[in-house]
Symmetry: C3
């Protein structure tokens, strides 16, 4: 794991900055306050198209220039974002079809990300502003990189033109329309067709296979759009300037409809991070998490583990919260803790959204470091304290490498399939992913989060499959070989159930893996008053029939008692676990610990959540252990290693008592000489 863009031995610390939205002239004052807070980078320009091009072809970069100038004066670096995700009204007036059609109807003007990213008029003017802006700024010494667009996705675009593109795409993917009929089972309910041109608009389809195919296509549109932008930017950018994107996650809201609150929840449905990563030279991401009593670090860890694993490189957190809407106002210490949590996951820097709180518009309450009054406030003061620490330890903690032996395998295709065939009305794919991820996280069993498209599994000893519903044959044989060669796998219910077209296999489940798992099943039901090892089973239960596997747990129920709930099979040199139902998290933890033991993996420490330990190696190969106390209670632990707390310089011997105050952090550099 290595990265060209890690700020030459320091950590990026920054914020988004919108000089264009300011209600008064604050530029110099803002730069001063940032500088004093240890901020070394700002991100500008994305979203401000109407200011930069008030009329078609009439460019005005005076705001951009002002900010870059001021940043230069105060020694701040700048990331310039292309403003293409918020279209000006004149563009919609030129061509109303710039606004995307979606399954809910034609989009209205007003929100961002309301456009059809394939629309030719949109592309024409987007190309114009990208070329103008990047050529205008690429020569500035303090511009260290470009962000292309913002949180790019396909935005649910559909309609006649998109259907035409989809039909073209299908033609390339399938040799004949008969093959399409067969692969996607279109015969069902009179859905078969006789030509590619006859393929219907998938937005109305009741055929999950056809619907999921369309989702794959739409994700490819978002990917193609980013690659297109990237190729334009590269014509102007310097070799030392990175190109990045803030890949974001499935969002889960908890507030009023129309409000923007929520958090970074899981695998993104509307673009495939794995595929789209080819558009950037530095992986970037947005991670928003709970705070106050609900801060656990799990959103930071999950997001980081996924984004890092895509390329096994350090990544940049382009957006994270300072304070935001009423739910997010960190307790003292939490802001600092969050920043170090990002670094502990492999981030090469942390940037806030945003510097100051906007005075109107949708995000008025999605605040900034500064509140609306621009005064120094507790949040700003803690940013300052954190900035000082990051500056001080930047050299020691940049370019951290993480080498996990466990991987959680996720899939955009399984996510789409679970939208069509949910395990329960209360559950989506990411609920299952987090059910397992969180259990690992709380055990301090670190993992990579990889896509099933990832070819390199050799680095791992334990692969975990949460509801990996639909996979290519290649993945099936990959699993077989992995176990055969000594690996351990742990699969949840509903894994390996369907092929890549979301068509359920018509032989014994799990498809072509019954010998690997030593088990099969062909019935399942909702568990009602069913227990496993004395604990309630929930939502789904497969009636597993061991064929060679050891029954690790059975169902307790008058009629289902003869079936297994959890099986473990020795196969080749490895082991294969299969869990047929959803058990409580602590029970899952016990099972995962056993499976990890099969893989020769033990938790680094006896610590358990709320005490979290995240590990890495520094540039010199020394072990760095980040210890976090995710609670309001002071904690005292026996130090698990000999080492030095880089934050305080204090030395600890293994076993020595170590204090972790509420929401505290210790960064222990292990002393391996002892």
């Amino acid at each position: 794991m290595s990265n060209a863009h890690d700020m030459k031995g320091s950590l990026i610390f920054g914020a988004a900055y919108y000089e264009e939205y300011l209600p008064c002239d604050r530029l110099e004052k803002d730069m001063q306050m940032m500088k004093e807070a240890g901020i070394n980078t700002i991100r500008i320009a994305e979203s401000t198209w109407s200011v930069e091009e008030p009329r078609p072809g009439e460019y005005d970069f005076s705001h951009v220039d002002r900010v870059i100038d001021a940043a230069e004066k105060y020694g701040l670096n700048v990331i310039v974002g292309t403003p293409t995700y918020a279209v000006p009204h004149w563009l919609v007036q030129l061509d109303p079809d710039v606004l995307a059609e979606t399954a809910q109807g034609k989009n209205r003007f007003g929100p961002r990300q309301n456009m059809d990213i394939t629309n030719p008029t949109y592309r024409h003017y987007a190309e114009g502003i990208i070329r103008a802006l990047v050529s205008h700024t690429a020569g500035r010494p303090n511009v260290i990189g470009f962000q292309i667009d913002n949180e790019t996705k396909h935005y649910g675009v559909c309609g006649k033109r998109i259907l035409g593109l989809f039909q073209e795409w299908m033609k390339k993917r399938y040799s004949s329309i008969e093959q399409v009929n067969k692969a996607l089972g279109l015969n069902y309910w009179s859905g078969s067709v006789t030509s590619f041109e006859d393929l219907p608009d998938p937005t109305g389809t009741i055929n999950g296979s056809y619907a999921c195919e369309f989702e794959i296509f739409r994700r490819s549109l978002a990917e193609e759009f980013l690659v297109w932008q990237s190729d334009i930017v590269k014509q102007y950018s310097r070799p030392d300037q990175f190109i990045t994107q803030n890949f974001d996650f499935q969002w889960k809201s908890f507030g009023a409809p129309g409000q923007q609150d929520g958090y970074s929840f899981g695998v993104q449905p509307d673009i495939c991070h794995y595929d789209a990563s080819r558009a950037v030279t530095l992986m970037g991401t947005d991670i928003y998490c709970f705070d106050q009593d609900a801060l656990t670090g799990r959103e930071i860890a999950f997001g980081g583990d996924l984004i890092r694993s895509v390329r096994q490189e350090n990544y940049l957190v382009l957006e994270s919260q300072a304070q935001a809407f009423k739910d997010w106002l960190p307790y003292p210490g939490q802001l600092r803790q969050m920043a170090w949590s990002h670094v502990a996951s492999g981030a090469c820097g942390v940037m806030y959204w945003n510097w100051y709180s906007l005075h109107n518009g949708l995000e008025s309450y999605w605040k900034g470091i500064l509140s609306h009054d621009f005064e120094p406030n507790p949040t700003y003061l803690e940013v300052k304290e954190t900035g000082e620490e990051l500056r001080r330890l930047g050299s020691a903690l940049s370019c951290l490498r993480k080498e996990n032996r466990i991987a959680l395998v996720v899939s955009s295709e399984a996510l789409s399939a679970m939208d069509r065939f949910p395990t329960d009305k209360e559950l989506c794919y990411n609920d299952i992913v987090h059910w397992i991820y969180d259990a690992l996280y709380k055990l301090n069993l670190e993992c990579d989060v990889i896509f099933d498209k990832e070819k390199d599994w050799d680095r791992y000893d334990l692969l975990i499959f949460p509801e990996l519903y639909c996979v290519r044959e290649e993945v099936i044989s990959h699993v077989r070989t992995f176990v055969e060669n000594g690996g351990t796998v742990f699969a949840s219910f509903r894994s390996f159930f369907a092929d890549e077209h979301c068509k359920i296999w018509h032989d014994r489940q799990p498809h072509d893996l019954t010998d690997v798992f030593g088990m099969t099943y062909n019935q399942y039901t909702r568990p009602v008053n069913v227990t496993v090892d004395g604990r309630e089973a929930s939502y789904w239960m497969e009636l597993l029939k061991p064929e060679g596997a050891e029954t690790k747990a059975s169902y307790q129920h008058k009629y289902w008692g003869s079936y297994a709930a959890l099986t473990r099979n020795a196969f080749g040199k490895g082991h294969a676990w299969y869990l047929g139902t959803m058990v409580p998290e602590d029970q899952l933890q016990e099972y995962l610990l056993e499976a990890a033991a099969d893989a020769g993996i033990l938790p680094e420490t006896d610590l358990r959540y709320p005490l979290i330990c995240r590990n890495a190696a520094d540039k010199d190969g020394s072990s760095i252990h980040f210890l976090f106390n995710y609670s309001s209670e002071d904690q005292s632990i026996a130090c698990p290693w000999n080492g030095e707390d880089l934050l305080t310089g204090k030395q600890f011997a293994k076993g020595q008592s170590l204090s972790l105050p509420d929401w505290g952090v210790v960064i222990l550099k292990e002393n391996t000489d002892d």
Copy 2:
């Protein structure tokens, strides 16, 4: 009660079969497995239009032929379904208006039942495929009948053309537009018009009378469509071939939106089974019910009682579940119990939907007898056991006659009215119907479920009216005569409140029946902290004022205490009961038992749910008593009759101990000689 189509002294046992959707060639193997399971009939072809006519006018019945050939080889009978409920994409391309407009907008291509059944293009091509398919198959000896379309309804069709048809229909129904204005009270809120052509689209109306009139019209469209199909089929079918339809019920879902789970809940809103029955020669139906701990038999009994009562004939269960989605996986014994429950209600056969679990499409999880792996599974094995029993007792238990003395009177019009003026936001019409039906069912008081259009009430001694809100004068006088002549009636709140135009009567309620019930009222309210006989009253309370009637129960409340809740009146030779509020089911049971006693009806046995007794007479006039244990606990009862358990051949004397194991069945042929 008799029927020409009861398979010559045997019971139909079968499944829907979609050879067109198979992912591999399984035809011979499937036939073999069916044969071994005692299956004697398959239902084919419905829904496969695009396979049978891949291009306009280009017919291809090779799949149909293959299946009929194979069935013939294995001695299986075939029901051929017309595929008209799932339109191919080319038909929509020929005429986009084949897709119906509904109040929610224009339908999209994808789902079935999305078409406008009155569209001329649709009718043209539907006629073509019906003629081609029926003429192609009618000569085959093992084709025993045809199913026209599938679960036909009006599908909420509306729009300009439908409005024109509605205006024409109104012209035939009313002598003048002034009569329409008056009958439907269109003056309200400026709704009156001066010509039939001026009648507005009813989808926006706030006039319940106008809206309900439109519902009657739309139900008639579905009826007319079935008669049209039937008339075409009759031009080709043999006299020994039946014509049927799978009339289905109001569906109640309990799962995620877009998922198909749910069960057969009550009276169907979108077609009138009574009126549409004229299109068929054999009544058919779809009945889906809860299973596992929630299996009570009530959905099977209600659906059967309604469909049988329409023509007082045996009927065919064209669809019922084997296993289906995660909620439906029967406990051991339940599948067999369900099959016998259908027979006990008067079914001449039971067919499953469907043979194997589909590998993709909307119904992938609405499984079949076989799971996706096609292997024999516990469900298949129990189907086999059941098939053997049905085969063995087919001759003894075909053509069963049921002669109930109680009828529950339902009404499509009342159902529509209650959609407009619900008793509570938590209640619909069928909730009230089931509140009463279930109470009877659990008392083992068997009843017919008849429509208020039914003219022949003489066969009954007790008529029960759940929320029979809007009725013609004719029904009112029917009630009067019935009681006068010695019958007993039991009416719930809100009965006889409005006329057939859903216009509330402007004289004393219940309209023209105050002498019959010896009671009137003109105020009602929501009961809050009100009890009746010490039990909580819910949702609705009419403040009944007896005028001659006996007060059987009063409200307990500071201000409503002077009003009656339940009244009983002697009128003519009979009795009339009126219940003004919703009481708990067990309290309702007490009231119903008393009313039944007035009608000279006592439950056949002392058994109560979960022990259910359903009675019939066989071809020779012997009494057949089906005893069911709808619980997981073994039960032991005193045998209520002398007789022989046809399943085991064991003789029982009245009073002798009889064991009903969990989910068990005993079919007692009463020995009347003793």
Copy 3:
């Protein structure tokens, strides 16, 4: 406070009457029954356009004439309503754009209030029917006034034409488009434009400032429409005939979707009562309230306090409930109590909606005084009893004056802003308004409810600001001056936060009032496990930092404990209170009592809800005290004054025991001689 239209020394008592909707000829009988019940006024004609003009330009006022004739015969007065809120179908056929476009799409024909009130075709025919009807009836002696339209609002109209009108309106409001961009912060997300014609349709906007501006514009459309109607009516009406409108309130439903149940909840979002009052000569209103155990009188008091305060005049309750849908059937005494509650708030009369229960249409269950059977019922009998009392005391209790020293300050603009930026997903603006209003009401601290546009604050000693979110600078300085001069203010959280464009102030909060309140804050959050004075804080908490103010209460919480929750500051000659969080109602009451004491205001009595005291002065200046027992329990109190109960003629000495039976009323005329 005085009013020309108070029926010359008597109280109006009446009902809406729709002869057009009757299922039979009842006119004479109805008049008789009304007369007997003490009803002296009926309201007719509104909503019956299709009857009065069955074809374009063809007027037929025979129903109107019949009713006015009969009323004359029985000595009843008539209010004639223009029927313009329910358009006939022919008008929609003439011009489909008469049906408004809204954000949810084009309206359908059927409901009332579905039209675009700015549509020229609509205006043309509306003008025709208004001129014809008013000129036809203005000469009738018993026509005492006209109601223009009904519950007029803007009905969410939008679309291309409305956008054009909005752009014109903006041109008049702003000097340049640059000023618009700046004032509304349109730069945000590429929303800035270069000409007024380029301003986009606001229905899609995510800019709250722009959205709220559009709401102000739309409210002005409703106001303009009423003024337009009023000007036409004035061309025909006599000087002694009043012009009124039934201003209604934000409606809160509790029933099934599509049902009309609910109650008058708070400030109306879709027309500004303050601005629109210029269209009428007599303020009118609709007030619907809970009854039975939920009758508290607060809806009656709030609605009356607001409508009365707009012009400091008596007002007419044009609609209130008798019985209505199943939830509203008053307990004995409640109907009478409600009528006197209206009078106690300053009403010059009470009218019911409506006389009889409609036999079909949407409002069939929104009943009348008479039920559907037209028989005298308990409701009618209590109306009769009430009518007799009102007649007897009409002279004594007409023209009551109320002079409150407290005012609750509300704002249509703050309401719109809170729709965009709600305090919580469970709360809207009116929840906060009622939180405070109800606390005052239950303390028997009477108040006016005034709009922030009201210029005359001098009459008050205590001003209360519930979430007065966005205000003009003028209001800010008004607050400063008010306190400086000795007034007391009490502001809730989120007050004075944004300017009149809904743009958050960028200096210290509360804007320009930090010295007045002696306090500032710049952080807030959701309180979780936070208490204030031992009671739970809810929904919102601002972290107040006193700067001179006294901390009256602090937050109890590990991390927020250093911040104040409630502050009190002496400023000039007055006091300023600020409450940063939502506390339980009884705790709020304690705070309000203290603030009132600062203003020199003590509750008139020690009575607290359910004993409510409402005070006024009669024509002669005597104090009238209305005492209400809003409970089912008889209550006995020490009489707070010497005086006579006008209802019974009984004299009471101060301190003497006075019985208030359940739902009872005493009207005490204070004897000031003692």
